[in-house]
Structure formats: structure tokens, C-alpha cells
């Protein structure tokens, strides 16, 4: 018996099956849902960054014609959202995030009351009419303020405003290594608070399904089951009484992989009113009151020998996580990721790290594409660049001497890296830029007094975090595995349900490619279904580049199981034994005589409608379920990025002249989709390096409540990006795929920063902080003594 089918769909950039509906305006996003009798909700939000709510007066709100209801926390019985780590109090302080603020408010934009009205315009009239009084407290607005002696406390239980303080590694004798090293370099850097900024804002429509006795919540989330779990918990319902369904989704990038307070409040209001309630976050709220990310500060040192080999790494990481821990990841998401992954692609013999999450009076944070790895890669790559300068070495050569080249490699961080192409990708990246003549152009430019620079980053990205990897982080909720169910219908085609949740990643196409190959089906005969908690037992959705590796493997296994059932049944109907048959296109056939075959439709006909013809003891139906989890440390995609920039002395503008990405995500299921993920990720990385920053005034009022102030780059700022593929298949995912969702974002800031610093080389200025604003560059380019 064999389920081997000639390779067909995987590896081919077939037309995306999502495209026709999305291109013709027939997609169905959450705001496209209209239900009879539907009401519209918005939130009265805190106007102060820190304080105690002394009064909420909704009487004027309720007098606005068309306003149906308005509730505070006291009006709706809702449990808090609590995210936990299994760590001692010295390492982690659990804090509760109430669905609506009870007494304390901890950031501008924090929801205090929900107002429900007949239409989306009237509800804003109601919001305007609400009166909230506060006893204002001094806000804590930066990590430094938070950690300062005598700082006001954001959460009374979190002394020193510290939610997480974990020293994950400390190699014995590391201080002696630093003391005896030929060269020690240091990088202090900070990265801006950013908004993951899916173009579709968050939103939910809740309705009570009286027949099913279920709260049906349609919401755009990357993690439908986690929303169900929290919704049920906060509202005191059984899980089976809540059904979460995800329609088409306009991006997420992490912002939608945590459970928001607003969707819970919408569920509660719906339960109370027994009418459908819709909430669509507007852009002002999305920019100022949604989940943010990325604001971190590093103080890192690295010790090197005279040949440029790294001897030790010591890092202090402080992440400004804002007002609350997010569910399920907690405020540990950024510092623990940074601590666990920092050595990256390099052979680092000694490592010490302290990672802290501090709480401040700013909107809370969620994972954002890449989670901490854009920063740790930036820090590592800056350390190597700085060491290369000190040791007068070529910056590419110093990396070569330190890259992991023998696999599997178990690092000082206890992580085992599966095979990748770390050296090969860097070599190719450099070769491309050399062959394109950029090094000559840089020299010519320098001779003309212009400022061209070439910068690299090389990195790996752990994809497919299994339960083992998340358990190491000591999360109370341990994501990791996923489940796929496959069922063949009477037409001989299949429906596959998975726990992953596409929001732009093309799963309807790529997961279908996997299933079609395993079963010898045409792509059109495979339907992928996601995002319905009633149809999948449990799943962890889509984040952390897990869907192709874990979800895809679960689909492959389920398909393989179904293939076995088809072969067994086919053999029976062909009067032979399973080892004498194989899968052909849409049928089971005898290995020795392909003309003797039975179609899947005929097999299904027997399995469902003529079950008396089944082999003795065989169950009717053609379904299979499989799970997949990554044992051990996951699989590592890798890439090298090379960037050429020119700095314009008149304006300080950083112009990207060339961007080359050499990426290796194992077997590419759909190369065009992989390239799309890389390009889109790089665009977000460039955005963080050069443009985007959420800022606040001294009172904690967000200064970026519009796209005028939060500068998402356009097509004029993002250059064309050349992508080259290498392929080191993963040995333990089904099909050899590794994740591809985050690499672009991870590699871009470091490469951009290094190229800017290369261009600045003759000025003697080095920049370590992002975003690199033109004014900073202009200042760096202005000779001392000349006013800028």
C-alpha cells in the first residue's frame, strides 16, 4: 500500500483561490455583515492616561434619540481577562484586564462604557454625550519613568511597574570572558512603539442564536478558539454555548491574535439585549486604543577575540508593554522571545540575558509580526558591525566566521537549530550586490562626496513553535499543536477543516495544495474551511509563522490517513489487497493494471450510501482527523538581506536604492505566496526602521490618532525587492516546509540600519535607534560647526 502520488500542486504558484471573490468585491468582511435588527456599538473611552473613574454619567447618552442602551462594568457582569505565566511572583506578576474599566483607568482610550444605538452615526452622538469624571493620577509614560525610584504604580500589585523579570540564561564565568576578551563592543538601542496596523480594523458582530442556544460571534481574529475561551469565561457560559466564526479578514499581523476587550463587551451587550450588536473599531481608536507593540530598549555587550569570533553576549532587555498583559501571551511575549532567541544564527559560547516587561500608561501591547526578533537581530547585527569596525574586518567576513554552519546545532540558549543555509544565504546576498556593481557605485559616490551605504542582516526565524517550545516559556496556555479534519463527500472531493486562520496568507490555496497532492485530487476538489469553532475541535489559529508548518502538517497527515482508508476500501472493491493498489488521479487503482480502478466518487458512494458493501468491520463514511505538533524546538527558516541606501545631505532623506533578500523557508508550497510574505514583511520592517512611531504627549495623550501622524509608508517609500530562494527542507514537518510569515519584517530593520551606518561611515556618526528620521540623518551629515 502506498499513498505516493507524483508531486503536483506543492511548489507551484497556482492561481489563488481567494482571489476571485476578493477582487470582485464579493469578499465578506465583518463590517459587511448585516443582520435584521442589528444595533451598533462604540465605547466611551478614557480621556486620561492614569486615574480613578469617579463618575460615569450616561443619562445624556440615553436621551440621544436612537441610543438603545449604555452599560458600564457595573451594569454587565463580566469576568476579567487574565493572562498568566506559570512562573513565580518574582518573575511574573499577573494582572487582570477588566472588559470595561471598573475604577482605575490606565491609558487614554481604555474602554469605560459601551453604548449601543440604532446606527453607527447615532452611537457616536451617544458617546459624545457621556460624561466621565476622573481623579487624575500622574501617568507613567516610558520604561525609564516606570523603573524610576518612587514612580507611580500602574498596577498596585506590580512593584517597580515590572510585570516580567526573567533572567533566562547566565553562563557561568561570563564576566571573566568579558574581562579577558580582545575586544568588547556595546550597543544601546531603542525601537519605537508601533501599530501592526491591519488595514481592516478590529470588529465583531454578536447575535444570540435562539435555536442553537448559542452566542454566535463573528469577529476578525487570528485565534477564534481563544476568543471563544475568553468569551465563555468572562460571560460565565459553557464553551459550547459560544460559537466564534471568522469571516474574510483584512490582515492581522499579530494585533488580532490576542483577545480584545471590545468583542467581549459586544457579546455581553448582545446577551443582555438579545439583539445582534455590531462593533467596528474606527481608525482613531485603532491607532490610539488598540493593541500596540515593539517598544523596547536594549543594552547589549559582546566579547570578541582578535580573529573576530564572538566569545560572549550579555544583554539587558526592557520592553514597554503598556497597561495590561494580553491573552494568552501575557506581557512576557516580547522579553521572553528576545531572551530565548537572541544568539540567533551565531555560535555564541557564553550568554547572559535579563528580560523585563514594564507596565506603563499606554495602550497595551500584543505580538506583532516577528515579535522581538526584529530588535534582537538589529542588536546582534549592530554588535557584529561594530566589532568589525573595531577589528578592522569586513562586516560580511566577521559574520561568516561566526555563523552556525553545522546542523543540528544546539546553542547556548538550549535551542537546537535544524539545518538551514545561514552561510549560503549571506554569500549569495553579497554576491548579488557585488555582481550588480553596488560596491563600485558606492566607491564612486564617495569620491563624488555622496553617501551610499551597503548593509546586511542575517538571521533565522523559529517557525512552527510546538507545545514543547511554548511550554519552555512557561505559558499557562500552551499553544502548539493543531488539528485538521478531512472528509470526502459523495462527489469524491474533500472538505478540510483546520485550526489555522488565514488572514491574507492564502491558506485556502496552500493547504489545498497539500491535501490535493496527498490525495491525487484536483485543486478544485479541495475546499479549505477555517475559522468556525463549531467545526474544529480546537485550534490555535495563525500566528508565529505556524500555519504551513503545523497546520500544513496536520492537513497532510489527515489527508494521508484518508488516503489509507481510500486504499483499503479501494482494494476491497477491486478484489485485492491494500498493498496491490495505489492512488491515481481521483481514484484508487491496481499497481499492476491502472485500468482496473475505482473512482473516489464510487468509493464514497459505497462508504455513505451502500455501506453494506464495506469490508467487514469497516466504519461507514470517509473522514479522517489528524493532529500535528512540533517535537523539540521547532524549525528555523533563515534569510540574508542586503540593502543599498543613499543619504541625501540636503534633506536627510534615506533613499533605498536596492533591496535584495535571499530566503530559505524549506520547501515553498507556493513560491509566489512566499515572495509576497517576504516583500510585505520587508515593507513593514522598513516602516519600523524609517517611518512609524506611536508617540504620546506629556499627559499620555497619543499624538498619532490619524494616518497623517502615523506614517505608514506608501509605494513611493517602499522599493522593489529582489528575492532569491534557497531551499533546505525541514526534516520533521510533513512536506519539508518551514514558516515564511515573519522573516521579512525581522530582517529589514537591521539591514536598513546597517546600510545607513555604512553610508555615514566617514562622518564618524553611528545611529542605533529607530526610526531613523531624516532630521537625525541630516544632523549626522552636517559637519561639526555648520548649523543644521
Amino acid at each position: 500500500m502506498t499513498s505516493a502520488v507524483p508531486k503536483g500542486w506543492v511548489g507551484s504558484s497556482v492561481a489563488r483561490r481567494e482571489d476571485p471573490r476578493l477582487l470582485t468585491g464579493r469578499g465578506r468582511f465583518v463590517d459587511d455583515i448585516h443582520l435584521p435588527g442589528m444595533l451598533h456599538a462604540q465605547f466611551v473611552r478614557s480621556t486620561v492616561a492614569h486615574g480613578v473613574v469617579t463618575g460615569v454619567d450616561l443619562s445624556e447618552t440615553l436621551r440621544v434619540p436612537g441610543v438603545v442602551a449604555a452599560y458600564t462594568a457595573a451594569d454587565l457582569e463580566m469576568g476579567d481577562i487574565v493572562a498568566e505565566l506559570d512562573r513565580p511572583l518574582t518573575e511574573f506578576v499577573p494582572t487582570a484586564m477588566p472588559v470595561l474599566a471598573r475604577d482605575r483607568v490606565r491609558y487614554v482610550g481604555e474602554p469605560i462604557a459601551i453604548v449601543i444605538a440604532k446606527d453607527p452615526y447615532t452611537v457616536e452622538d451617544g458617546i459624545e454625550a457621556a460624561k466621565v469624571t476622573y481623579e487624575v493620577r500622574p501617568p507613567v509614560l516610558s520604561d525609564q519613568q516606570a523603573l524610576a525610584q518612587g514612580a507611580p504604580l500602574v498596577h498596585d500589585e506590580a512593584t517597580a511597574n515590572t510585570l516580567v523579570d526573567v533572567s533566562m540564561f547566565a553562563t557561568e564565568g561570563i564576566d571573566a570572558v568579558f574581562a579577558g576578551a580582545h575586544q568588547v563592543v556595546r550597543v544601546q538601542t531603542s525601537t519605537p512603539r508601533q501599530n501592526a496596523l491591519p488595514l481592516e480594523t478590529r470588529g465583531a458582530v454578536a447575535e444570540w442564536d435562539a435555536r442553537e442556544e448559542q452566542l454566535l460571534v463573528r469577529t476578525c481574529t487570528q485565534t477564534p478558539h481563544q476568543v471563544r475561551t475568553v468569551m465563555a469565561g468572562c460571560l460565565g457560559l459553557d464553551e459550547r454555548t459560544v460559537r466564534v466564526v471568522v469571516p474574510d479578514m483584512g490582515g492581522g499581523f499579530g494585533q488580532k491574535c490576542v483577545v480584545g476587550r471590545e468583542e467581549i463587551a459586544v457579546g455581553a451587550a448582545c446577551l443582555r439585549l438579545r439583539r445582534p450588536v455590531k462593533w467596528i473599531e474606527d481608525r482613531r481608536d485603532a491607532l490610539s486604543a488598540s493593541f500596540l507593540a515593539r517598544e523596547q530598549r536594549y543594552d547589549a555587550r559582546a566579547a570578541f577575540d582578535a580573529e573576530g569570533r564572538i566569545l560572549a553576549l550579555d544583554a539587558d532587555v526592557v520592553c514597554d508593554m503598556g497597561a495590561y498583559s494580553c491573552y494568552p501571551f501575557t506581557a512576557g511575549i516580547e522579553p521572553l522571545m528576545a531572551s530565548a532567541e537572541m544568539p540567533g544564527v551565531y555560535r555564541v559560547p557564553a550568554y547572559r540575558v535579563r528580560g523585563r516587561a514594564v507596565t506603563t500608561n499606554k495602550a497595551p501591547t500584543a505580538p506583532y509580526r516577528g515579535v522581538s526578533r526584529p530588535q534582537i537581530v538589529m542588536v546582534m547585527e549592530r554588535l557584529f558591525e561594530r566589532a568589525a569596525r573595531e577589528l578592522d574586518m569586513d562586516p560580511v567576513e566577521i559574520r561568516r566566521r561566526n555563523l552556525i554552519t553545522e546542523f543540528p546545532y544546539t546553542g547556548v540558549n538550549g535551542v537546537t537549530y535544524d539545518p538551514g543555509s545561514y552561510l549560503e544565504s549571506l554569500d549569495l546576498c553579497e554576491k548579488v550586490l557585488k555582481e550588480e556593481g553596488w560596491y563600485e557605485r558606492k566607491d564612486t559616490a564617495a569620491a563624488e562626496g555622496r553617501f551610499l551605504g551597503i548593509g546586511y542582516s542575517c538571521f533565522s526565524e523559529r517557525t512552527g513553535y510546538g507545545t514543547a517550545a511554548f511550554a519552555k516559556r512557561k505559558m499557562a496556555v500552551v499553544p502548539g499543536f493543531d488539528i485538521a479534519e478531512i472528509r470526502m463527500d459523495l462527489s469524491g472531493g474533500v472538505t478540510v477543516t483546520t485550526g489555522t486562520m488565514s488572514h491574507g496568507q492564502s491558506h485556502e490555496t496552500t493547504l489545498a495544495q497539500i491535501a490535493a497532492d496527498r490525495l491525487g485530487l484536483d485543486l478544485a476538489q479541495v475546499k479549505i474551511h477555517q475559522g468556525d469553532t463549531d467545526r474544529v475541535t480546537y485550534g490555535f489559529g495563525t500566528f508565529a509563522s505556524r500555519s504551513a508548518t503545523i497546520g500544513g502538517s496536520a492537513v497532510a497527515r489527515a489527508a494521508a490517513k484518508l488516503a489509507d482508508r481510500l486504499l483499503t476500501l479501494g482494494a476491497h472493491l477491486l478484489d485485492t489487497t491494500p498493498d496491490e493498489v495505489e492512488l491515481g488521479p481521483g481514484r484508487v487503482r491496481r499497481c499492476d493494471d491502472h485500468d482496473r480502478s475505482v473512482s473516489f466518487a464510487d468509493l464514497a458512494d459505497v462508504a455513505y450510501l451502500k455501506a453494506h458493501l464495506l469490508p467487514k468491520g469497516a466504519d461507514p463514511g470517509l473522514t479522517a482527523t489528524a493532529t500535528f505538533d512540533v517535537q523539540g524546538d521547532g524549525t528555523f527558516s533563515n534569510a540574508a538581506h542586503g540593502v543599498v541606501v543613499e543619504l541625501h545631505p540636503g534633506t536627510g532623506q534615506v533613499e533605498i536604492l536596492r533591496y535584495v533578500c535571499v530566503e530559505d523557508c524549506g520547501v515553498a508550497i507556493h513560491p509566489q505566496v512566499v515572495e509576497g510574505q517576504a516583500r510585505g514583511g520587508i515593507a513593514q520592517g522598513i516602516a519600523g526602521a524609517l517611518f512609524e512611531q506611536v508617540t504620546y504627549d506629556e499627559q499620555g495623550e497619543p499624538s498619532c490618532a490619524s494616518f497623517i501622524d502615523y506614517k505608514v509608508p506608501t509605494a513611493m517609500e517602499i522599493p522593489d525587492i529582489a528575492i532569491h530562494h534557497l531551499e533546505t527542507p525541514c526534516a520533521f514537518t510533513e512536506g519539508g516546509a518551514k514558516g515564511a510569515g515573519e522573516g521579512g519584517t525581522i530582517g529589514a530593520p537591521a539591514a536598513v540600519l546597517n546600510s545607513v551606518n555604512d553610508a555615514l561611515r566617514r562622518t564618524g556618526v553611528e545611529l542605533d535607534d529607530t526610526p531613523i528620521r531624516p532630521a537625525t540623518v541630516l544632523l549626522a551629515l552636517t559637519p561639526v560647526g555648520v548649523p543644521a
Binding site: 477582487l23 483584512g250 491574507g504 509605494a715
Partner: protein
């Protein structure tokens, strides 16, 4: 109290004479929630992201920055007009072929932007296309494949026009 107005719009060739709207209703909300054409999306409501771009008398405009009453008697085209029979037009096919969309939320805005632009300027170079693509925001693609798609569609249209002449 919100004032109600009776307005008339021609949308995708169909005349709607009986639209009762509030004066404050934006064109995009009327298209989506009253006429039921949800293909046009709302991304920022302050005219920057371009997800709501439609054609007003053939010109690309932000439907979030126009009150529906201001469009009285005028001709509006939305993404739904590009494939009236369900068959994608050449621009839509080019977006698919070049992977010019991922989540698809911004896509209708880019399609209508490109339709309006190419109708006025059938022979743009890549730099001009890029400048126009910069009108709208996309968070998924990095824009390159959107530029590719529009460039390819424009080229095909020129070839097609050349053949038929």
C-alpha cells in the same frame, strides 16, 4: 434631529432614485449599507488609506470624504462594476496573476484607483504608476506586485487596442 434627504445616484449603471439618507451620511456608507455594495471598504475615514476609492463620473475619489448628498445625480462606479457577470476583468486578472493582493481588504480601492487612472492615462511608465499607487495604503504586499499588475494590465490593454485597430 438628523435631517433626512431624498437623493438619487447612478451606481454601476443602475439608477437609485429613492435613497433616503441623512445629510451626514458619507458616500461610502450609503454605498455599503444602503445600496448593499460592500465591495468598497472603509479603512480610515479621513482620506488617507484609499480603501474606499470609487469612481465619481469616472474619476477616482475617496468615498469617505464625500457626503452622499453631494453626489446627487452623479455616476458612481464601484469594484462590483468590474466583473458584472462574475468574470474578472483584465485588471482583476492581472492583480491575481501578479499576487497583487493578500488579505484583499485594500484591493477594491486599488482596483478603482487604477481603473480611473488608466482610463485617463493608458500609457503610463512604471514611475507614474508607482506615484499613483502611492495614493492608497496596503499593509500586506509591499506594493511592488500592485505596480506590476497595473503595469502589465496597461501593457495588455495597449496591445489589445493595437490589434483591434
Amino acid at each position: 434631529m438628523s435631517e433626512k434627504l431624498l437623493i438619487s445616484l447612478t451606481v454601476n449603471g443602475t439608477r437609485h432614485d429613492d435613497l433616503v439618507v441623512e445629510s451626514r451620511h458619507t458616500l461610502v456608507d450609503v454605498l455599503r449599507h444602503q445600496i448593499g455594495l460592500t465591495g468598497t471598504h472603509v479603512g480610515c475615514e479621513h482620506g488617507v488609506c484609499g480603501a474606499c476609492t470609487v469612481l465619481l463620473d469616472g474619476a477616482p475619489v475617496r468615498a469617505c470624504l464625500i457626503f452622499a448628498a453631494q453626489a446627487e445625480g452623479r455616476d458612481v462606479r464601484t469594484v462590483e462594476s468590474l466583473a458584472p457577470e462574475g468574470e474578472m476583468n483584465d485588471l482583476q486578472r492581472a492583480f491575481s496573476a501578479h499576487h497583487g493582493l493578500q488579505c484583499g481588504f485594500c484591493t477594491p480601492g486599488f482596483l478603482m484607483l487604477a481603473e480611473g487612472f488608466l482610463a485617463e492615462r493608458p500609457d503610463p511608465d512604471r514611475a507614474e504608476i508607482r506615484e499613483v499607487v502611492a495614493s492608497n495604503l496596503c499593509r500586506c504586499t509591499g506594493y511592488q506586485t500592485i505596480v506590476d499588475a497595473i503595469e502589465s494590465c496597461a501593457r495588455e490593454r495597449r496591445c489589445g487596442a493595437g490589434e483591434t485597430r
